[in-house]
């Protein structure tokens, strides 16, 4: 229990500090922080449509956040969520553009394609790590750029958009994850059924981590590879499996983004959501429900920044800056922990002093040496 409270305190403190940093930046360029934040949050929540947009932005972040958090829990740094998103998104888009089938089956195939593409893209660095102990940070970063260039050349070659060379054809309406009843619920925002996929993913990952033997093994390997090996757990298999699952989650993120939020895929863009996923995971203390909540928060920040920029001319990059600052403070959470415990000790000492003043001293309490 104590650990959960600790994580919450750290998360909240990091957010507060991040928002504070944002406020300072706003003031620095001569804007009013209160105004800035009001428009920022209004921009994300002011209307049903805007709420829908915030949720829609959050969908991708939930999934990339889960991807990073899951890998983290099992001892791996998945910096490659962006590349996994691209490949998953590419596969999903390809299915959307080429397959005809009744809508429910088509959507399922699209999601499956995203899942599979991301899984493969995660398996490669997983294998390199398991077999050759290649550090997954550099490996996944390389994979990001390979994915980037694959999309850059494959899309114009086979799926070129009707108007622009730099994006793919629009996917047909039947293939989009957007649905009419969600559209009418949220007044036509970007929201799509990806939200259900995301929530389902959160639940499944939570179950895997807490209640299954698979989760137990993956955590053991992640925390202490040597001890896991000693205990008879197959380390290599689990490292690969972990990256496959992480990759497939990011691949799903790609599917929900490129065939849900958007209706095509653009080339020459490295999806930021991959890196934001790291922030989401860290703020959520790498716990599935924590990821869910922090993704919603970040979705809100991203959604509202356009409105804020329109109303106050504060550059929209403030959102990214705030997010980056929040991660910095979660990384340095030790500092936050120390500050809190320092304050707690100070308070305790004051109380103790009060008690000492009131207690008569007993000279006979000398310890026997």
């Amino acid at each position: 229990m104590k650990q959960k409270n600790n994580a919450l305190v750290i998360a909240v403190s990091a957010v507060v500090l991040g928002l504070l940093a944002g406020a300072i930046l706003m003031a620095l360029i001569g804007s009013n922080p209160f105004e800035g934040y009001t428009y920022l949050f209004k921009g994300g929540l002011m209307s049903v449509e805007r709420i829908g947009n915030s949720i829609a932005t959050a969908i991708t972040l939930i999934l990339t956040g889960l991807s990073v958090a899951f890998a983290f829990k099992t001892g791996l740094f998945n910096i490659g969520a962006a590349g996994q998103m691209l490949i998953g998104g590419l596969c999903a888009t390809m299915v959307a553009l080429t397959v005809t089938a009744p809508r429910p089956i088509l959507l399922l195939l699209i999601l499956l394609a995203g899942f599979a593409g991301g899984a493969v893209w995660g398996a490669i660095p997983g294998y390199l790590k398991a077999r050759f102990n290649v550090h997954e940070v550099v490996a996944t970063i390389m994979m990001n750029w390979i994915a980037y260039w694959i999309v850059y050349y494959v899309v114009p070659a086979y799926f070129k958009g009707a108007y622009l060379e730099t994006e793919s054809r629009l996917i047909p309406v039947e293939a989009s994850l957007k649905t009419s009843w969600l559209d009418s619920l949220f007044n036509g925002s970007y929201i799509n059924i990806g939200i259900f996929v995301a929530i389902l993913a959160v639940i499944i990952i939570q179950i895997i981590l807490k209640k299954t033997t698979l989760g137990f093994e993956l955590k053991a390997v992640g925390y202490n590879r040597d001890a896991a090996e000693y205990a008879g757990i197959k380390v290599n298999r689990n490292v690969i499996l972990s990256m496959v699952i992480a990759g497939s989650l990011a691949g799903l993120a790609g599917a929900t983004f490129y065939t849900g939020y958007a209706s095509n895929i653009q080339i020459g863009v490295m999806p930021n959501q991959g890196f934001d996923g790291i922030a989401v995971a860290l703020l959520g203390a790498t716990e599935p429900w924590g990821v869910f909540v922090s993704a919603l928060f970040f979705g809100l920040l991203h959604s509202g920044k356009g409105f804020m920029n329109a109303m106050t001319s504060i550059p929209p990059e403030i959102s990214d800056t705030i997010i980056a600052t929040i991660i910095y403070f979660t990384a340095t959470s030790v500092l936050i922990g120390r500050v809190w415990s320092f304050l707690a000790k100070k308070r305790k000492r004051k109380e103790q002093e009060k008690v000492i003043d009131q207690t008569p001293t007993d000279a006979s309490l000398e310890e026997d040496k």
Binding site: N224, A228, A231
Partner: protein, 505 residues
């Protein structure tokens, strides 16, 4: 000047523990002064304060009569204090010379040639043979220790602190070291020897200061004090060195290893045609200096390492192709050498650690889902039976347990598996006497219950105390196998150095 170094009324606290509580240590010039205490008593902390790595909360330090404030190792060096660490503080891919001059290079630009020359002179003067241009990772443990000593002499140290120097040496190398220390004293140095080995204290020290649980117990004249007396000062009660045990009644073969050859991680032969066997109802002790193939032997039996050739059978069944998990299921239990590296997942709770090998079996889990109730039942029982003490029972994170309780948890997990073969490697390393006694009792109990126990230990005392038979390993070869009652430590010491029984001394 009465004393060359004085540490008076030292107090040092860490969060949650008082490491040194009003400790006083006074060392006379040109004496070898032993600092005796159990693991965790506070000896290393005290010396780290003297050496400038820690700062005392209260108390004072005097060197040659003058009060000083030692804030970092540089100042300690300037005052003539040097330390030979228990875990060598050497950079593995630097040369001997580079390690010795580090921090004391004598200028911005390095002059390795003149430094090498100076070091060569020093090594000849103090009879510490080394090769100045060799890389640390390529030289022997004995030579590495001499490099540590030379490092101090290079800085004109007068007071040399030796922290558990004999832990990694053969009995012969220990003799050599004793000679080196006596020589250093003759050349005018004073030595503080941190150790928990009473025999060595008797052999070489003049006076001995005893610390127990951070508190100063007393200083004695070694010549006039028995090992027994020093031991009870160290532990606080009467200590029996021998374990009460009936003679063993070994039955059929459980573990049979024939002509085993195994490569180590550097592709050298760590085991060469090695053979050993263990029967039901006996404890076989494998004696040898660290790094002679014991690790690879245990890894080969438990499945952590592949073999080149040879046979390993359990109850006659060849296990060399079985996975680690299958070997666990076959009844091989393993108390590993490094409890924090291999034995436990520190981030897991005690309960989770106790099911580390069995979580996938029914009734603890079914169809891939863990059964938390059954797990709770099972692990609480183990914790109770094996007296594993922790803050929150089975929910305590393993990292919060003391070394002794961590080890008890591991022992509990392994013994509870009801194994046919129990392999215990360094089972009491770093533990206090109470925990050591407990684990020794349990091992003998297993043997009396008809289990086969293979004990691998670097402490000859432990081997002699517990084993029915002793097998000696050196450079991967089986030197000899003897019944414990038929031999003594000196003989075994020679064997550990590679000399077979009966060959010339």
């Amino acid at each position: 000047m009465e004393y060359v170094v004085e540490m008076l009324n030292i107090r040092k606290e860490f969060p949650g523990v008082v490491a040194n509580d009003n400790v006083t240590l006074q060392v006379k010039p040109q004496e070898i002064h032993a600092l005796l205490g159990e693991n965790g008593a506070g000896k290393s902390t005290l010396m780290s304060i003297l050496f400038g790595l820690y700062h005392a909360d209260k108390g004072s330090v005097k060197v040659k009569g003058k009060e000083v404030n030692i804030t970092d190792p540089n100042i300690a060096n300037e005052l003539g204090i040097g330390m030979v660490h228990q875990h060598f503080q050497l950079v593995h891919n630097f040369t001997v010379t580079e390690n010795i001059i580090m921090g004391n290079e004598g200028g911005f630009v390095l002059n390795v040639k003149s430094a090498s020359r100076k070091i060569q002179e020093l090594s000849e003067r103090y009879k510490l043979s080394i090769d100045p241009n060799a890389k640390i990772e390529d030289i022997s443990v004995g030579m590495q220790q001499r490099v540590e000593i030379l490092k101090m002499l290079y800085r004109d140290a007068d007071v040399l602190i030796f922290d558990e120097p004999t832990a990694v040496l053969t009995p012969q190398e220990i003799h050599e070291l004793m000679g080196i220390m006596k020589n250093l004293v003759k050349e005018g140095k004073s030595i503080i020897l941190i150790t928990h080995k009473l025999k060595e204290i008797k052999e070489i020290a003049e006076r001995c200061t005893v610390i127990r649980r951070g508190k100063y117990i007393g200083t004695v004249d070694v010549a006039n004090t028995t090992q027994q007396e020093m031991a009870s000062m160290m532990v606080g009660r009467e200590v029996s060195f021998k374990v009460d045990k009936d003679p063993g009644k070994p039955e059929e073969l459980v573990l049979d290893i024939k002509n085993l050859t195994v490569l180590n991680s550097r592709k050298f032969e760590a085991l060469k045609n090695f053979s050993i066997n263990v029967r039901r109802g006996e404890i076989v002790g494998l004696a040898g200096v660290e790094g002679n193939g014991q690790t690879e032997l245990v890894e080969a039996v438990t499945g952590l390492r592949d073999i080149v050739s040879g046979e390993i059978t359990i109850h006659g069944e060849d296990i060399t192709h079985l996975s680690r998990r299958k070997r666990n299921e076959l009844g091989i239990a393993h108390i590993p050498e490094d409890r924090q590296k291999h034995g436990l997942v520190l981030e897991f709770t005690v309960g989770e650690n106790l099911i580390l090998k069995s979580y996938y079996q029914e009734p603890l889990s079914k169809h891939g889902f863990l059964n938390q109730d059954k797990i709770k039942e099972h692990t609480e029982r183990v914790v109770e039976v094996f007296d594993v003490r922790s803050g929150q029972g089975i929910y305590s994170p393993a990292s919060g347990l003391s070394g002794g309780n961590q080890q008890k948890a591991i022992v509990g997990r392994e013994i509870d598996m009801d194994p046919d073969l129990l392999i215990a490697v360094q089972p009491t390393r770093g533990l206090d006497v109470g925990a050591i006694e407990y684990i020794h009792k349990r091992l003998v109990e297993q043997r009396d219950n008809g289990k086969a126990v293979l004990l691998v230990s670097l402490e000859l005392d432990e081997i002699f105390n517990l084993s029915d038979r002793i097998v000696v390993i050196n450079s991967g070869e089986m030197i000899d196998v003897v019944k414990t009652e038929d031999t003594n430590e000196d003989e075994v010491g020679l064997m550990m150095a590679g000399i077979k029984r009966g060959e010339g001394r």
